[in-house]
């Protein structure tokens, strides 16, 4: 039943949001692009968690994946290449009431935005961080990305990428004060949904690396992975991501992993023969920077004025 609020001059009915409330412009990604699935999963989480569109902000950098805010019905900030995280952190700093989602690509986050990736995770502000990792620069048409495998042919390395790729998981796990590190793939919608939901529910930065298909510039990479489920290792634990049968069926290699075990998380992340899926690390108690940066937000103008006069007193002759 619709509840009638006492102060019905403000809001007569409790609002119920449908998927339509989270829909923005029509998505313009290529057919078959993994980004579509991420958008759908995120919209479902928004709906199921009944987040107020006016209190939700989707922040992104520049890239194909960074267009995501345009396709949402919330507030959005489509920023600069590599700089989604400082913008998102700034939004959260004095407005901890806002629900912040970040969409960033592998180039955006792991190359041009590297400094912010490291430091934003250290700040551990309460937000959901989705890295769309297609191992390629999509928007600018097929340049090598930090996660392109060695030998992979791109427009900047037509004879194949010449150095080994960066491992985003081991790097992330090495950052102080991380609190939630997960990995998933775009082509298993239930697992993607559960992972984003868990990242969102977590208080702190929910880092999710989404292995994502680019059918136009890196089709062979995803095909190879999709065709060989033995490459993956599904992580199970009561504290981990709750996986349904489809995922269990799709990824037969499974292992129990306690996400509070950082050493084991490292081991799993560093083992390049098996790609871990699920929650690698979780620490619900890591401090969040907005709890510090928002100090004083509630101060009244009168208290501020008194404080300012006290500061002037110290300098008065």
């Amino acid at each position: 039943m619709f509840g009638l609020k006492a102060d019905w001059s403000l809001e007569v009915f409790e609002r119920y949001f449908t998927l339509g409330d989270y829909a923005g412009g029509e998505a313009r990604w290529c057919p078959g692009c993994g980004d579509h699935g991420v958008l759908t999963a995120a919209q479902r989480v928004l709906r199921d968690e009944q987040l107020h569109p006016e209190l939700t902000v989707a922040v992104s950098g520049i890239g194909c994946s960074s267009r995501m805010p345009h396709y949402l019905g919330t507030y959005g900030f489509h920023g600069l290449h590599g700089r989604a995280l400082p913008l998102a952190c700034g939004i959260k700093s004095r407005r901890p009431d806002l629900d912040v989602w970040v969409a960033t690509g592998d180039g955006d986050c792991f190359s041009i935005g590297t400094a912010h990736w490291i430091h934003a995770l250290r700040y551990n502000m309460d937000m959901t961080l989705m890295v769309f990792d297609n191992s390629i620069y999509g928007l600018t048409k097929a340049q090598t990305s930090p996660t392109s495998p060695i030998g992979f042919k791109t427009n900047t390395h037509p004879f194949g990428a010449i150095i080994a790729p960066l491992n985003p998981l081991t790097v992330t796990l090495g950052i102080t004060n991380i609190s939630f590190v997960a990995q998933t793939v775009d082509w298993n919608p239930p697992m993607l949904y559960e992972t984003l939901k868990a990242a969102h529910r977590h208080k702190g930065t929910g880092f999710v690396r989404i292995i994502q298909r680019c059918p136009v510039y890196a089709d062979s990479l995803a095909k190879e992975l999709q065709g060989d489920p033995s490459r993956f290792l599904l992580l199970n634990h009561e504290k981990g991501i709750q996986i349904d049968k489809s995922a269990s069926r799709q990824f037969p290699n499974q292992q129990e992993h306690d996400p509070s075990d950082l050493a084991n998380a490292f081991k799993l992340a560093a083992d390049t023969s098996r790609i871990p899926l699920g929650l690698l690390y979780w620490n619900p108690d890591a401090p969040c920077y907005e709890d510090l940066s928002s100090a004083g937000v509630e101060m009244t103008p009168h208290a501020r004025l008194a404080g300012f006069n006290a500061a002037l007193d110290r300098l008065t002759i």
């Binding site: 006016e54 489509h78 913008l87 407005r95 100090a295 008065t316």
Partner: protein, 645 residues
Amino acid sequence: MTTTKKETQVERETATASAVGRVAETVDEHIVEIVSDSGEGAQKAGQTFGTVCAKMGNGVWTVEIIPAEIQPPARSPAGASGIRIRLASNYVTNMGDEADVVVAFNEQVLYSRIANGAYKKGTAVLLEDKWRDDAVPEIREKYAKAVAEFKDNGLIVHELPIEKACLEITPNPRRGKNMFVLGMLCQIYSRDIGKARDEIATTFRRKGDKVIGMNQQLFDAGCRFAEEHIDFCYEVPPQAGQEEQKQRFIVTNGNTAVGLGVMASGMELVSMYPITPATSASHYLADAYHQVGGFVHQAEDEIAAIGFAIGSSYAGKTACTITSGPGLALKTEMVGLAVMAEIPLVIVVVQRGGPSTGLPTKVEQGDLLAALYGEPGDAPKVVIAAATIEECLHFVIMSRRLAEAFRTPVILLTDANLATGVQPFPRPEPTIDWLAPPIDQSEWDENIPPYNWDPETGLSPRPVPGMPGGEYILTGLAHTSESKVAYDSDSNQRGCNMRSRKFAALASTLKPPQVHGDPDGDLLVVGWGSTMGAIEEAIDRAQAQEHKVSSVHLRFLSPMEPGLKEIFRRFRKVMTVEINYSDDPQAPLINDDTRRYAQLAWLLRAHTLMDIDCWSAVFGAPLQPGMIYKVLLKRLTAMNEGVDS
């Protein structure tokens, strides 16, 4: 010069030398320096002296002498560290010309000051004499040679056993000598001893009573020492009317003033990355900002710093970022984003010498064009410059108001001269409306687009996250009034028109700048930023010599204040005086085709289509009135000879 020895005498309230039979000579103003190796506390002594002078009603300007290196070797010219204090019976706006009295802890540091033209014939040098008998022969030789040279150059050297006298009180005079010197100066300038002792107590309040007591003891000894060893004594009367005035004053440097401006403006967030000479503004805020509920975020780099500030502004909490030239360079792309997406933001740039790492601690006005035109594409914004330390405070408040009213980033330019200069100025009387109200979270009419540009003014109201119905996607891409990405010709042209028109609207609210001096004449000097005091002092001197010169000082650089052409037309010649690079017209290969102009001159030439000349220098030092005065005379002579008019 002989030194008279006097008997020690009883405690007095004021160090008037007349009490011991010496009559204080009354002067309008004096310039005093304390120069030492770094770490000897000269700056603390000088700041305290300046504060005592301000409290006694004098006009005061103090400026730090900063060594060229971080850890310079002891007793080296490059290591000269210290402070200059100009005290006067009228309002002081700049560091002045040559010093009258200098206290030096060793003779070597004086060389760099001499090279800077800091002294004149007759400047009294109160020199620590312990080096004369140093165990190292080389030091003894250097000392003797320097003293002889100084005397030959007309300096009046008083060799004084300062350290020896301190040793009678403390085993470690390196740490206490500064307060001893403070005592000497307070004696020489007939300062109020009670005020000085109170000031010492305030300076060392965090160190406890024992330290305060020791420093006051050294101070007292310094007073007695000067009385015994120094045969001159001055009185610099307070500014007229100062005593009766009820107005209260605060004493700060320009960076603290910026910090106070941030607090007074109601901005709750400063997001910064450390860079000289801007950082001390954030140091001040880090210590005081919580009193008004604010927070200083030290970001991982300048890009993140401004990004964080922009995020906060977007979310309804207009923020500030404070930096210097190299930091501004890194922030450029973000400034462009704030322009494109019309995000209010305050960017304070405390300019230093450039390009590249340049002269980190020294003054330059080299970032004007970068502030105006640094970004790709057309990125109009507000650029203003503070001319005084007091304006550093009030212009931050103005910046926030302009940023929000015009939905724009505002760059406020100050510089190392303002940042390190210390001056008393009227205490601001803040009211509750200075501190912005809580952000508006009321419903937004869904039919009003996020950029509902008024076609006349380009202005539009701004939805803020939390407002139901206002949901929009901000983007740095070309966009329509709905904030929809649009690559078509009309949308791009319209967006550019609207973002530019705002500044014509702002300009229409500004008044023409005031001319200092007669409204017409032979030569008009145009300045901006920290040079105002020195320029106006030079103009006053030239006017006193019957020269028809005036000056005008610009606060708004974008948009420009109106009526400039009208003002300029009334003078035979117009020139800017600036601290940035320009080609000397007499230099090899320089002619009308090749000459590069100083930055304001460049701007004014484009703005007015008038043949505006310039004189500028990049000495890494503030301009001094005497220097500008000489330039004016030269230009006037050339004009009258018809060489260059």
